[in-house]
């Protein structure tokens, strides 16, 4: 299958999954940002480091749609049997995965943009770091989306309810347990574990680029490498473990 068709198909799938919902349920654009903004609200009211909260909210928005929306969306497709129709069409699984992942990213983008503008305006984020921040967010989203895709296709016999619950637990777990909304230093001797989670690793890198954390160049490089390695591993999981055609 040629690359041009794969890209076109991914775009069509993203469009079909996003446009009808956007046309008829425009509030969907606010939902992701609002959920991620809840911890920020408590930080504002009860006191806390807003800068950390804003970075956490950005990671939370892309992270949650990466893992939870990917699982829920693809599971819904299986449930309504749209996926069966698509599997029997000349559509590459990668196109389907990318398309299915792009749609929620579109829904989440206003939320991310809002937190980003807020962080820039409040001076928590230097403008020159914006490119890095976007790259980190996309990388984090890509890793979690791949994992979500593998889970939703691999556990095909699990019910839609089980997978929805699993996706929520994973999403919340990856966002609220590791240091995404709070500084790694709070973990003391265990702060190194933040590098092992794509969400907290990405949050750490964002804090480094925004000047909130002072990592050595080697540590920044190491964090990038770990995040990239996670992406490679996640892609390998998709290639070898995701089930498109059932056995």
């Amino acid at each position: 299958m040629n690359t041009r068709k794969m890209i076109r198909d991914a775009w069509i799938i993203a469009e079909l999954k996003a446009l009808p919902d956007l046309k008829r349920q425009p509030l969907i654009l606010m939902v992701m940002g609002l959920i991620s903004g809840i911890p920020l609200f408590f930080m504002l009211v009860f006191g806390g480091q807003i800068s950390y909260g804003l970075i956490g909210a950005m990671i939370s928005t892309v992270g949650f749609i990466g893992i939870a929306s990917a699982i829920q969306d693809i599971t819904l497709d299986r449930y309504v049997k749209i996926r069966e129709m698509i599997v029997a069409m000349p559509v590459h699984p990668i196109s389907y995965m990318v398309g299915a992942a792009l749609a929620p990213l579109l829904f989440a983008s206003p939320g991310v943009a809002f937190f980003m503008v807020l962080a820039l305006w409040q001076g928590y984020l230097p403008l020159q770091a914006l490119g890095w921040i976007v790259a980190i967010l996309l990388l984090c989203w890509a890793v979690l989306t791949c994992i979500g895709f593998v889970i939703s296709t691999y556990l095909r016999r699990s019910s839609i309810y089980t997978l929805n619950n699993l996706s929520n637990v994973l999403g919340i777990g990856l966002i609220f347990i590791p240091p995404v909304y709070y500084p790694e230093e709070l973990l003391g001797g265990l702060s190194w574990i933040s590098i092992l989670f794509p969400t907290s690793n990405a949050a750490g890198l964002m804090r480094a680029y925004s000047g909130l954390a002072s990592f050595s160049q080697e540590m920044v490089l190491a964090r990038w490498l770990v995040l990239l390695a996670m992406l490679v591993l996640a892609i390998l999981l998709v290639v070898f473990k995701a089930k498109w055609r059932e056995t």
Partner: protein
């Protein structure tokens, strides 16, 4: 060349218990015909359809669609088929137009052609007037027709429909049948599955009856009907012990709590009714129906829907 051909297709599911869903199914569907795979629930119809539509891998055997091997040339097969899965549901926010539009775009058609085929498909299933209503506001039959329209709009040569009329009322069902026949007139090949004998009789050029993963009969409706040598049936009902004792003397099939005995002549049927009544059982005789043929061929499985 056949539109669909399978040779000794076997599918075994390994789970908590091993299930032989298909046990050496060999059949062929000619180009331009409407072929029905008829069988009771759990007979292996969906498994068969999912294998030839490249969604599921067989355990063994060969399957070809328009000469392309479903195992090695799945991409080629997918270019020529469109599938309507069993119990397919819809996205509530989608309109019938969006279903046709996006699914045709995924076929690689240009936007202008997509608009043409979508319009044609929606008119064919009589949904053109409702094309911009969301599926959430449509009836079950309309939603099913929206999905069928999406398959039709694909312009695929071979359409595979898994129980496309299940859950539809009689009027909606007939509308779907007429659309399918129209598609065949236009040169499409249709393979559909059903457990409704009437549906198979009304729409099929040829049909095959499948039961417990095996084909039990194959041919035209008339050929299938002629498989039943007996012309009359006697339905016997009563206490299980008496029934068992009485029916053991004849070739019979279970039909729920009743036994159906097939006989060759009206006289034989009357005689049998008399004997049954004498034995303390209820009995009635009637000429055989198409359902009888089906029930007899699948060994007395009760039909779920008529």
């Amino acid at each position: 060349m056949e539109a669909v051909k399978t040779e000794n297709l076997v599918k075994v599911y390994h789970g908590k218990e091993t299930v032989e869903a298909l046990r050496g199914v060999s059949l062929s569907v000619k180009k331009g015909e409407l072929f029905t795979l008829l069988g009771p629930n759990g007979a292996g119809k969906t498994t068969f359809l999912r294998i030839i539509s490249t969604q599921l891998l067989p355990t063994s055997g060969e399957a070809y669609v328009l000469g392309f091997n479903v195992l090695d040339e799945a991409e080629k097969v997918r270019e020529h088929i469109a599938v309507v899965p069993q119990d397919v549901a819809t996205y509530g926010n989608f309109t019938p137009w969006e279903y046709c539009y996006y699914f045709s775009l995924l076929r690689g058609m240009a936007k202008q052609k997509v608009k043409e085929v979508s319009e044609r498909a929606l008119k064919a299933v009589e949904l053109w007037e409702l094309r911009n209503r969301t599926c959430a506001t449509l009836s079950g039959g309309e939603r099913k027709r929206a999905i069928i329209a999406a398959a039709l709009a694909s312009d695929a040569e071979v359409l595979m429909l898994d129980e496309p009329t299940s859950g539809l009322d009689a009027v909606a069902r007939r509308k779907v049948w007429s659309v399918l026949r129209e598609m065949v007139e236009q040169g499409k090949t249709i393979l559909l599955t059903t457990h409704i004998m009437e549906e198979a009789e009304m729409v099929s050029d040829r049909l095959a009856i499948i039961n417990k993963g095996q084909l039990v009969a194959q041919g035209t409706v008339e050929e299938i009907k002629s498989l039943a040598e007996e012309k009359f049936r006697v339905v016997v009902e009563g206490s299980p012990n008496l029934l068992e004792k009485f029916a053991n003397n004849y070739s019979s099939v279970s039909f729920g709590s009743k036994r159906v005995i097939y006989v060759n002549s009206g006289d034989e049927a009357i005689e049998l009714v008399r004997k049954a009544l004498k034995s303390g059982l209820k009995a009635e005789a009637a000429p055989i129906t198409r359902e009888d043929v089906f029930v007899k061929l699948v060994g007395g499985v009760e039909l779920n829907e008529h």
